[in-house]
């Protein structure tokens, strides 16, 4: 899979980066954006090497390497022994609440 094919498929790399910034709530600086544009192409090509393996539909994805089940915990309460001030230290507070931003946009 060539680079140009990929770009055509994805559209403008700049748009892709902007979309990802929105999805992940991060922003790249202008310098970083330039670096990222060229690196993303290389990295995606690198990822696309997996396509050489052809159709893998009959291979079950391996989510957990261990053949164990999650243990189940008894429903017995344990009050956290860590003092509240330590649990949420160096955090913006208002009384016992955590102070947070507005929850509407605009």
């Amino acid at each position: 899979m060539g680079c140009s094919h990929l770009v055509k498929e994805l559209g403008d790399i700049e748009d892709v980066i902007r979309h990802l910034e929105r999805l992940a709530l991060i922003k790249f600086t202008d310098d970083e954006r330039v670096k990222l544009s060229s690196e993303i192409r290389k990295i995606l090509n690198f990822f696309n090497q997996l396509n050489e393996l052809g159709d893998l539909k009959d291979v079950e994805p391996l989510f957990h390497v261990l053949d164990i089940e999650s243990p189940l915990r008894d429903d017995e309460p344990e009050v956290c022994s860590i003092p509240a001030s330590e649990l949420l230290s160096n955090v913006l507070r208002e009384g016992s609440y955590v102070k947070g931003p507005r929850t509407v946009t605009g």
Partner: protein, 481 residues
């Protein structure tokens, strides 16, 4: 009505649990200081890991069985990603139907009886997931607050998400469905829906195959019915004016009783679901399901049938009793002490219930004991009080839990059966009401008025038969003289 299709998404907290879904923090957070029922795990601190609450799975299985669902062979949790201040990890551990994941159960149904006929509402799936924290606003208004206040006590509480197919066709059906669902949950002991925030509904509605509108976060069954009724009206109005209903998410304002736009749903949230690597799937064995089934409390429909069989009640009385679990429990306890079940059921669903509702008493606040009602009925049966008196003292019994026998004695409410005593009273009454006596002498039916006066005078305690007899005797004497 036209082609109305309603689907409901109900989030119920598993209030029966003592701890949260993935950590052992105590689950009784209501009314407690903000951020006092938290630990590193439910706060989502760096490095923490979730551990599944065994009983959450048990209760989920109970609900799945009660709703006739097919339970998956494994329990898989996924991460559902979105950013919001009430989300400690900015992903919710939930369930999904995707590659490597499966809902807890699917393809169930609930049978309703509406207006005499049967209706089946299919259950698409039930998921187990965690509740986020709670956000409040210093100004009380989300739009004007310069910042928010976050309490993570609720973060990590276990939820069941119950999703129906869009089989519901009217607001009334929605109400009936939710009422029955709540009844089942209460009978199973899974959720106490009287607890604030334990029960939330999202409703999806479309008209005539048009766009689907989602109404989020409705907090009571009444509001669901109202919101849906409002939506139908709103959408019909748009259609009649030649417009097109927009696919969107709306919010129900219970004060102004309207739905308002929350955000347009053209941009689907990309939750990027994938199986949580921190939680290897757990096998759900048939042995487990059998053991849950065996230990399950009685479901409402079964209880109604049993009431009819065991106590000889008719369907109506049985249904009313069972429709509120606490009332059915109250009945069965009282039935241990009083065996004229029809009378018991009757007084419970009429006078007793009326006063409970009148006083707005919550079931757990009720002071009246089943044995009190049983004793009251015994007193009635023995003729020691009249029905009138019984109805008169019922509110007192309901409100303060007084023993009826004590009440009757201290108030002196026993029926007057002593002939001499009653004769005295009858004579006094007739003496003070010469006109009434005249009327009665002329017209035998006017005797009832005198009976009424005697009853008034004795505050309903006079034995009616004896009273009439005594009045008649007196009238004879008057005639003689």
């Amino acid at each position: 009505m036209g082609d109305v299709r309603i689907g409901l998404e109900i989030h119920v907290q598993i209030t029966a649990l003592k701890t949260k879904l993935f950590c052992p923090c105590p689950a009784d957070y209501r009314g407690k200081e903000p951020n006092s029922h938290v630990c590193p795990v439910c706060l989502g601190l760096p490095g923490v890991l979730p551990v599944i609450n065994r009983d959450a799975v048990k209760y989920a299985a109970m609900v799945a069985i009660a709703l006739n669902c097919k339970i998956s062979d494994r329990l898989v949790f996924v991460r559902k990603h979105y950013f919001y201040p009430d989300m400690p990890k900015n992903y919710q551990i939930s369930q999904y139907d995707g590659v490597g994941s499966t809902p807890f159960c699917r393809e169930g149904f609930l049978k309703l009886t509406i207006n005499g006929h049967e209706k089946i509402v299919r259950i698409r799936r039930i998921n187990i997931e965690e509740d986020p924290g709670r956000i409040t606003y210093p100004t009380g208004d989300i739009a004007t607050s310069p910042y928010s206040l976050i309490d993570y006590n609720r973060a990590g509480i276990a939820l069941l998400e119950i999703v129906t197919e869009p089989d519901i066709e009217s607001p009334q059906e929605a109400r009936a469905f939710l009422t029955k669902l709540i009844n089942i949950l209460e009978h199973l002991g899974v959720t106490d829906t009287s607890l604030e925030g334990s029960f939330r509904v999202d409703a999806n509605i479309s008209l005539g195959g048009g766009s689907r509108v989602e109404i989020k976060n409705i907090g009571s069954i009444k509001d669901v019915e109202r919101a849906l009724a409002y939506e139908i009206l709103r959408q019909r109005t748009i259609i009649e004016r030649g417009g097109i209903v927009r696919r969107e998410t709306r919010h129900w304002d219970p004060v102004r009783k309207v739905t308002i736009t929350l955000r347009a749903k053209e941009v689907e949230e990309d939750y990027r679901y994938f199986p949580d690597p921190d939680l290897p799937p757990v096998r759900i064995t048939s042995e487990f399901i059998v053991s849950v089934r065996r230990s399950m409390p009685e479901l409402p429909d079964m209880r109604i049938e049993r009431f009819m069989k065991q106590y000889g009640l008719d369907r109506y009385h049985s249904t009313v009793l069972v429709s509120q679990k606490w009332l059915a429990d109250f009945f069965e306890e009282a039935a241990k002490h009083y065996t004229r079940y029809k009378k018991l059921a009757d007084i419970l669903i009429t006078d007793f219930l009326r006063w409970v509702n009148e006083y707005g008493i919550k079931p757990h606040e009720l002071r009246a004991r089943p044995i009190h009602i049983a004793r009251l009925l015994e007193l009635l049966d023995k003729g020691l009080i009249s029905i009138k008196i019984a109805k008169e003292i019922m509110p007192e019994i309901v409100r303060s839990g007084s023993d009826p026998e004590k009440l009757i004695r201290t108030r002196g409410l026993l029926r007057i059966t002593n002939r001499d005593e009653l004769q005295q009273i009858v004579r006094e009454v007739m003496r003070s009401n010469p006109k009434a006596v005249e009327d009665a002498l002329r017209n035998p039916r006017a005797i009832n008025y005198i009976v009424g006066l005697v009853m008034k005078r004795t505050r309903g305690r006079a034995d009616p038969k004896l009273t009439i007899e005594l009045i008649k005797n007196e009238l004879q004497r008057y005639k003689a003289s």
